[in-house]
Symmetry: D2
Subunit: 370 residues, 4 copies
């Protein structure tokens, strides 16, 4: 039908193109010395499993929200739309890769191996071919991922458990002893699993936070500064797929969820220092009263809780330093302070967590710039 062919030419809306008016919001979590802080989401679904969008939409959402890298991880075993949609397991990647390239989003091929508990769900990242993972035996499926040097993540360890509390079964011991659990979600969608965080710290397993989005990323995440999906921060040498892979296997990840970042001191401390500038409003020598202006250039609302003041010192117990704003803080001492640099005033940064009940500790006088 000649008519229809013409339509094809005239109508064709390239899935590779971003909408003309599209804008990308940048996420202000700073880079740290030696590493870029890449914003990544390694868990999401499309119509090719139980999601409700075409694969290019996941790229569009990620670009708008300010992400650097994503992985589409459709279920191998669970495809409720299969009455309408038949395709192999690489199809969602193939349909998204052009859009990703056009948008400068790093797209990592992934799949979700999906079993009931005690096995649970596992994302395999950096795959070459997803189809071999479609095999009845659970260990065979994982093996098929391992054979491709995949990064294997135990997803939502508290899923389908009472009170969402993770349970570590024998099967996880088997996997862990084989070296087959390379990462673990301590946050999935809106659920945070403190126990999983503890396990990761004990067993030195890299942590992740993932959206596991099936429908739409909430609208506010796409346009409001500070609103964002659960995501994994990867501290990578370069903005490339290979660098992300290297960083993940090396354990250079953190979990960004709500207003909190969960991770190791070696990453959280430089994030704090790169986020916050301090300026002295009064001379810092030989004065009993010290005033500083703190400026927070990040998307995080920092909260600092004083741990202890030196004898004779007084100041605020709690400092609230909202995103993209400055505040002024006053300290007093009974006698003139000769060397501010030698003073120790420790604060816990409530929203930077090294463990479920442990915040990063910083020494305010020891911070940069003054």
């Amino acid at each position: 039908m000649k008519n229809t062919r013409l339509i094809l030419i005239t109508l064709f809306v390239s899935l590779y193109c971003l909408p003309a008016e599209a804008q990308r919001k940048e996420i202000s979590i700073p880079d740290i010395p030696s590493y870029l802080t890449l914003k990544c989401d390694f868990h999401m679904h499309t119509v090719f499993s139980d999601g409700t969008v075409w694969p290019n939409i996941r790229v569009l959402e990620a670009w708008q929200e300010g992400l650097d890298a994503i992985s589409i991880t459709d279920h191998i075993e669970y495809r409720p739309h299969k009455k309408d949609i038949q395709a192999d397991h690489n199809r969602s990647y193939d349909l998204a890769v052009g859009a990703a390239s056009a948008a400068g989003i790093i797209l990592i091929k992934g799949s979700e191996i999906t079993r009931s508990n005690p096995e649970g769900h596992y994302n395999a990242l950096f795959l070459e071919d997803s189809n071999p993972l479609d095999t009845p035996d659970f260990f065979d499926a994982i093996q098929a991922a391992i054979d491709q040097d995949a990064f294997v993540i135990w997803n939502h360890p508290g899923w389908s458990q009472p009170n969402k509390i993770p349970v570590w079964y024998d099967i996880q011991t088997q996997l862990y002893e084989k070296g087959w659990i390379h990462g673990m979600e301590i946050v999935n969608s809106s659920s945070y699993y403190p126990l999983a965080f503890t396990w990761c710290n004990e067993k030195e397993i890299p942590i992740l936070a993932c959206s596991d989005v099936h429908n739409l990323i909430p609208a506010k995440n796409l346009i409001e500064r500070g609103s964002h999906r659960a995501m994994t921060l990867v501290f990578a040498k370069e903005k490339t797929k290979e660098s992300i892979r290297e960083a993940m296997f090396a354990g250079r990840t953190a979990a960004y969820f709500g207003n909190n970042i969960y991770g190791k001191s070696e990453f959280l401390k430089p994030i704090f220092c790169a986020s916050v500038a301090v300026e002295a409003l009064s001379p810092l020598k030989d004065t009993k009263s010290i005033r500083i202006q703190m400026t927070n250039e990040s998307d995080l609302d920092y909260e600092l809780v004083n741990q202890e003041y030196p004898d004779g010192f007084s100041g605020p117990e709690i400092i609230k330093l909202p995103a993209h704003h400055s505040i002024i803080i006053s300290f007093k001492n009974k006698e003139a302070v000769k060397s501010w640099a030698k003073i120790k005033i420790l604060f816990a940064v409530s929203n930077l967590l090294l463990a479920p009940e442990e915040s990063l500790i910083i020494n305010l006088p020891g911070l940069n710039n003054y």
Copy 2:
């Protein structure tokens, strides 16, 4: 595989359910005497033609944005995802109807008959069965819709025309003379066609504004008051499919696009009067100086341009009355005004349009409440 069956039970995320945290923003365009002002979008696509979302997503977007009724109008002839997706033409409706019922959204079955120019594209609404429209001859396709008592809309009349200026071909004359053009889009997506508006006024064709969304409704439309897709206002006796149908065939529609409403004086004037409350701040009898507070409870930013002041009167040339705010306006007269009600001060409401270059005229002293 026992394992998989368990997954099906445990994982199943009903497409009929709204996300737990979902919120619906209400659109503040008031009802008018005798009629509800229903917010409708009768043109949109899913993966079942050249869109990129599953049908339930169109319901979710509509509910969040504050719409009352939608029609999913996948192309009959243009289905670029058919390599992956095979289904008949009723499938997108069937997959959305449960979600619509759960969300209280009126879902009207529709399809888009899709030809190159000079025929163009036509939405057929209120269908029983979309499949008969899939027939090679253009007139046969329209006939198949007419046979089902469908409401047939000529979509985007300026599509694929130089400078997007609509062209009325012989073929439209034929359709019009048969009584087969029941409505016309004067706005499609981000394009407004003034010439189409003129034609509709001359030929008494009901007007529509439609999103024609293929990807995602922009995030800000889902959450920001006053941001919205192009939509059709239907002045219906009840919030039912039958009432919408009756209203559309009776020509009770208007087009809501950006900050403008396009339509007939008999609908736009009561919308203005129901949006704006006026309160006298000074006594309205025997005074040379009159102050009024105007309160705008609608989502529209009204702009009023003075047409003429009576002899001796003075006041603002332009009044800007932003959405959900009040302003105070002062008028002066050379002598005391005995009867404010007898004064005539005409203003054109710039954003309520009766024709491409003609705004609604209102008499400020004649408004309600004072």
Copy 3:
């Protein structure tokens, strides 16, 4: 100097005029049957005591924020700017009354009688002349207010007390027994005094919430819907000074602070009912599953906590119904419900408080509209 006189004419910026671009945000707390819900702030300062703005600014702020009535209550005894400013105690009222009239704001003449504890601070409202209150003896000062039929408010009863917990001294007993405490602030600025609320309930003293603003009303209160200063809701027959007076002496007040309203059931229940519309999404007879859409047209984010479900019923434990949005709620029953109207499902409205630990209880099936 001729030059200067010309300047006077050319430069003169009338303090009575609102800025040309000024807009008033309306506060959406609905009227209730028989009464207007007036938004009032009866405690604020200017440069004529220890405030930092000229009196007209208090009117401008109130108009922009959406208030109906204010009282400027400069301290009689505490005037730290007196080196620069000399004036009698009526001066701040006199300088604001023109601006108030121009803006349609009801301005009530008031003053703050200011003593250290145990006496404390007292606002006297509806004064004719503030100057007689400037007298050394505390009881003489109150008497001077009472002589003018003033409404006397005990301000911030927890001021300067340990942990801000109010202390009721002998002196308050004396005042109360004379009938000289007509109202009490249960909220002042950012401080809420639950114990004062309890006293007011026990002793039938009308409650107030006041800003006590000295510097500027925070910017966000002037422009963001839902952001607001602490204010008193007065349930008045008309929008006049006399009606406010009558309502206050009759005890028809409530305190609006943050997202909470504190007051009597007879006012809070109709506010809730006028704020929330309910629409059935499924037939309400003979069904085991009921879905309703709740629409909240107010500025309040309502939170409803279930008290108990009837045998066989299930539904959400907590319902969050944000300002200016709709949500959908589902209930299930083991058997078909024949008469929804006879069902009792009680919820506590967390943000409407009858006493410090007691929320308003509503019966959801008994609400309006369905």
Copy 4:
């Protein structure tokens, strides 16, 4: 009265203190090589002339909005509150300097010499003592400022002129020839004077934009990114009063008004380059199709208008690059581009103005980072 003395101690609210919850919004206009970009407002009023706030409020507003330096410039000759307020001309500075020091705001002593046209109004900045300026003869008053090495600004040159078009009288010639006009407002409050901008370019007079605020800085300027008063950008070596003075006499100023910056290419070009980062999404060698991502880290919404494409090149005519967002731009060439660095694609930056009708021109391939 013992009672009152106690109050003084208990009540005292230091005017030097910022409100506990106060936050400063930072203005994102980047520094440029060699200079800090200081945000300054050198024209404002308090109750000590015809303004309506106490001097400390001007400091509080400036700190919240993100300014670095201000000057309070009360009229010498026009003091409508003098019935209530008597003080010398240094008083507003004296009352603000403590608050400024506490907030880290640089406060420059200034006064406004105020005459009718043809003389007009002149701000004198960097004064030691404002009182000598209070003298009947206009030239004597200016001389008194010059004697203190003041920086003298001709304010709002179009004030009180038909259509606000500036008029250059003999008197300005006399001042200019004496070297007594050191700066000129090309923007005052909401008025922009293109003719004044032209004069400044011709006569090499430093330009300024000033708020001339009398009442309140609009609320949205205090809290919304990108909203701001008219202000002067000073390119200073350090954040000190002396550096500002040096920069202003050296002509290193620009005017920031709405979304535009007005000034010299030597300042506007580095502002653009420091605001915008460019990243290549496709290899830049040997390709016919080039895609770049542009990221705008400033508060400005940049608009770039293409001036000409080289033969064979095509790309967008207009590029809109909103504040704090990224966009992707595509260019095409007929043949593969060997050296992107040698290509010239000129764009005019609409919102960076070198003269009333002349925008800054940039060469996109020549920009930083790629």
